[in-house]
């Protein structure tokens, strides 16, 4: 049976970037196949190499704010040289590329949301928060394909806001479109 892990990525100190991490923190309460990858970047490789199927939740800046997309991660990397990279900001595609370069035959999907603001200390945008339920539905569908039942209860948006509150040390309010990037504590 395939070993499956759903991984939320991101850093709530950078506005919408923290969405995947916060959603994973919420879902981890009910599902042992969900993991909060935080902004650990390449530090996650050891853990991820234990799985056959990875389903990432992350923002994708190429999408319009609030849009949700399901993306399949294809291709592989062969390593010929090295250059610069921030070890914390490793997108799912590169993590999967590394895993395949390490010889792990991993199947990978990404449930992505278009961010409105990635500014330091900004709260999550209203567009991204309102995408939470759509992301959950897509996750449910994908995981059901592997025989897994995604469980959750309560209000996902409120739980995500609480996650930002823990990270930012204050009660954030979601920003409305047009004001994204401004902190409103």
């Amino acid at each position: 049976m395939a070993r499956v892990l759903a991984v939320g990525l991101g850093n709530p100190l950078y506005g919408d970037d923290g969405f995947g991490s916060c959603l994973a923190q919420y879902l981890m309460q009910f599902n042992d196949f969900v993991y909060d990858g935080d902004a650990h970047g390449v530090g996650l490789l050891g853990l991820l190499s234990d799985y056959d199927v990875l389903v990432f939740v992350d923002v994708d800046a190429s999408l319009p704010p609030g849009a949700v997309a399901v993306e399949r991660i294809e291709g592989s990397l062969t390593v010929r040289e090295t250059r610069l990279l921030d070890a914390h900001r490793v997108p799912p595609s590169l993590l999967v590329g590394y895993l395949r370069a390490m010889g792990r035959d991993v199947e990978a999907r990404l449930v992505a949301v278009g961010p409105a603001s990635l500014e330091l200390l900004s709260p999550p945008s209203r567009q991204v928060l309102s995408a939470a339920r759509a992301v959950l539905r897509e996750l449910e569908d994908i995981l059901a394909g592997y025989g897994l039942v995604l469980r959750w209860e309560g209000d996902p948006e409120a739980e995500i806001l609480r996650c930002y509150e823990r990270a930012l040390g204050a009660r954030p309010r979601a920003t409305a479109p047009g004001t994204a990037g401004r902190t409103s504590f």
Binding site: A69, L77, A87, G97, R100, S130, R133, A134
Partner: protein, 639 residues
């Protein structure tokens, strides 16, 4: 012709560091080198007004890799200021937590994930093809342990991401942290360290220690593998690679001060000695301060300051009397010149009444108990201020002022010069005679994915080198890794003994807010990057001053004119000295030089994976791409 290299940032290190170098293109010799840290942290500013025990958690956040380093140094400072130490089992758990939670994961990670790529086939074959040819023809000497036939075989497996050594390092660093978390509760910031104790849940202590036993068995096999690989690389660069001046690469490139000034703190307190000093002091923090030298010298690794092969002092309370920090080249206001005293006023004596900085006025105002962090940002000017790193120096009893170096090499240096041994529960971890150090690793250490040669008993011998060079520092890290594994065995066997005797109490009773009306202390702890040093001043349970030095602080110190005697002409931190004492060995046109030798020199001190910029493995011919299966819009918020 001169070639000017400005490398900013240097990758695969912790934090943001820039390096400027001026190189003579005809001789390939570096003529001038400066390093600049362009990152202000300001933890000292945050800490004033907080409870002392909070410093353990707050300073831990200085770094996502070595959080336990600061937590342990701060715990030592807290113990001393509170006049309390843990019971033997608590001390053993602190040592084991640190061995697994930091050293055993961090040393291999630094060696193989961060420094390894500089010695991998990818880099060596591209920038130094003649070295690559020699590596292909040079048989490895330690094949019986690591299983590689030639040096080139090792270099090939050092390739990032695809190389076997790189992948094994990813696996074993995780395993070490997993085991460390059984004690620490989490990684990287342990939440169990408190003044006079450790709050690890020991409900099922025997089972936890057995888990440590099984983990250490596999990790010891891994440690043997890593040591053998790096011993081979070191010997290859010593015997088969020369600089443009015709000198052995490993013995000259990246040399620091002459003679080296080595500082080490030691780590892993002796369970009985450290526990007993609290009893002897009968609750008086000042009485306990008088016993700190005894406690530090009983540690599993030994403290001290050495100049070349001479030990200046083994006693930390004596060394710390002269430990000062200047800010002539750093972006800070000089608090002494501005007459900004700390809230407790200028401290002139240590708790035993000995004058700080040997009574020299105004130098005592630069002692760490008297420091006030006053940031003064500015543009880089090599003639004035050019770094956020201050200038640590030690003022010796005879008035000499010296720079200092710290790292695994400085710890092995002091262990060797102490000419002593360390054993617990009948297990001898290491012994030294003043010029050589022997480390004893047990046999029957089985790890299924490592060669059979990693199962046997192994005695590693390290000879005290003349200088600290790039390759000597790398070798020292690999040797120190082995030493830590041996020390971990000693503490684990000791802890099992305590369980058998029913002596499982860990912590002395301490309650939140219980502090002497006034006390001040320091706490030093040797960590993967060198000495981690904290100074604490508290009044009524509130910090009135807290200053600390990361190991890199003295290492990355900018230049000033404070040093005297033989160090007057080399009054810079080891990073700058190591960059300066270099030839370019890249076999390509000067306009294409990448600064490989310079970054090798810098990375050999303390690169780290968490906080900075690192490498990206770029695929040539390969590509990762995303195929969008569907996009959902219906829920999108509209105001």
């Amino acid at each position: 012709m001169s070639v000017k290299l400005w490398i900013d940032p240097i990758t695969r290190i912790e934090g943001h560091l820039a390096l400027y170098a001026d190189i003579d293109a005809s001789t390939k010799r570096v003529r001038e080198a400066r390093t600049s840290t362009m990152m202000f942290r300001g933890f000292e500013v945050i800490l004033r007004g907080k409870p002392p025990e909070d410093a353990i958690q707050i300073t831990s956040r200085s770094c996502g890799v070595c959080g336990a380093a600061h937590a342990n140094a701060s715990t030592a400072a807290n113990d001393a200021a509170a006049g309390m130490t843990p019971y033997p089992m608590g001390i053993a758990l602190r040592a084991l937590g640190y061995a697994f939670g930091e050293y055993l994961y961090d040393h291999p990670l630094i060696l193989n994930l961060l420094e390894g790529p500089d010695y991998s086939e990818l880099i060596v074959s591209k920038l130094t093809p003649s070295v690559w040819s020699a590596a292909r023809e040079t048989p490895a000497k330690y094949s019986n342990i690591h299983g590689y036939r030639t040096i080139a075989d090792i270099m090939r497996d050092m390739n990032p991401v695809v190389g076997r050594i790189w992948q094994l390092a990813v696996k074993y660093q995780r395993e070490s942290r997993r085991i460390g978390s059984l004690i620490y509760g989490r990684a990287p910031h342990p939440n169990v360290l408190v003044p006079g104790g450790i709050t690890t849940d020991i409900t099922n202590l025997p089972a936890m220690l057995l888990e440590l036993y099984s983990g250490l068995t596999a990790l010891t096999a891994w440690v043997k593998f890593v040591w053998a690989v790096w011993q081979d690389l070191y010997e290859f660069y010593r015997d088969h690679v020369t600089t443009p001046a015709g000198e052995p690469y490993a013995l000259t490139q990246g040399k620091t001060h002459d003679p080296p000034v080595m500082h080490a703190s030691g780590w892993a307190d002796h369970p009985e000695v450290y526990s007993s000093i609290a009893d002897e002091a009968r609750g008086s923090w000042r009485e306990m301060y008088a016993l700190l030298d005894k406690a530090y010298n009983a540690r599993a690794e030994k403290p001290g300051l050495a100049i070349g092969r001479e030990i200046y002092s083994k006693n930390v309370t004596e060394i710390q009397l002269g430990y000062v920090e200047f800010v002539e080249s750093a972006f800070y206001e000089d608090w002494a010149k501005a007459n900004v005293a700390p809230p407790a006023g200028w401290i002139k004596e240590d708790p035993l009444g000995r004058p700080l900085v040997h009574g020299m006025d105004p130098l005592y105002k630069y002692h760490m108990w008297n420091r006030t962090t006053l940031p003064k940002p500015g543009a880089i000017n090599f003639a004035a201020k050019y770094s956020w790193d201050a200038e640590p120096r030690v003022v010796l009893k005879d008035g000499r002022v010296v720079p200092l170096e710290t790292g695994p090499i400085s710890q092995l240096w002091l262990d060797t010069l102490h000419a002593t041994k360390f054993e617990l529960a009948g297990f001898k971890a290491w012994e030294s005679d003043g010029s050589r150090l022997k480390i004893y690793l047990p046999g029957n250490t089985v790890a299924p994915d490592l060669p059979p040669g990693t199962r046997d008993e192994l005695v590693i011998e390290w000879k005290l080198p003349k200088y600290s060079t790039t390759m000597e520092r790398l070798l020292a890290r690999a040797v120190h890794l082995a030493l830590v594994a041996a020390v971990a065995w000693a503490y684990l066997l000791y802890a099992l003994d305590l369980v058998n005797k029913g002596m499982v109490l860990t912590s002395r009773p301490w309650s939140y807010g219980r502090w002497p009306s006034f006390s001040y202390s320091f706490g030093w702890w040797q960590v993967p990057r060198g000495s981690c040093m904290h100074w604490l001043v508290q009044r009524e349970g509130i910090l009135v001053n807290y200053q600390y030095e990361a190991p890199t602080t003295p290492n990355v110190s900018p230049r000033n004119n404070r040093c005297t005697g033989e160090f007057a002409g080399q009054c810079a931190g080891p990073f700058e000295m190591a960059a300066l004492n270099n030839y370019v060995t890249e076999e390509i046109e000067p306009d294409k030089w990448t600064g490989l030798d310079l970054v090798r020199a810098i990375r050999s001190f303390d690169p780290c994976i968490a906080c900075a910029v690192h490498f990206e493995a770029r695929g040539e011919g390969g590509r990762v791409y995303k195929v969008i299966e569907k996009v959902i819009w219906s829920h999108v918020y509209t105001p």
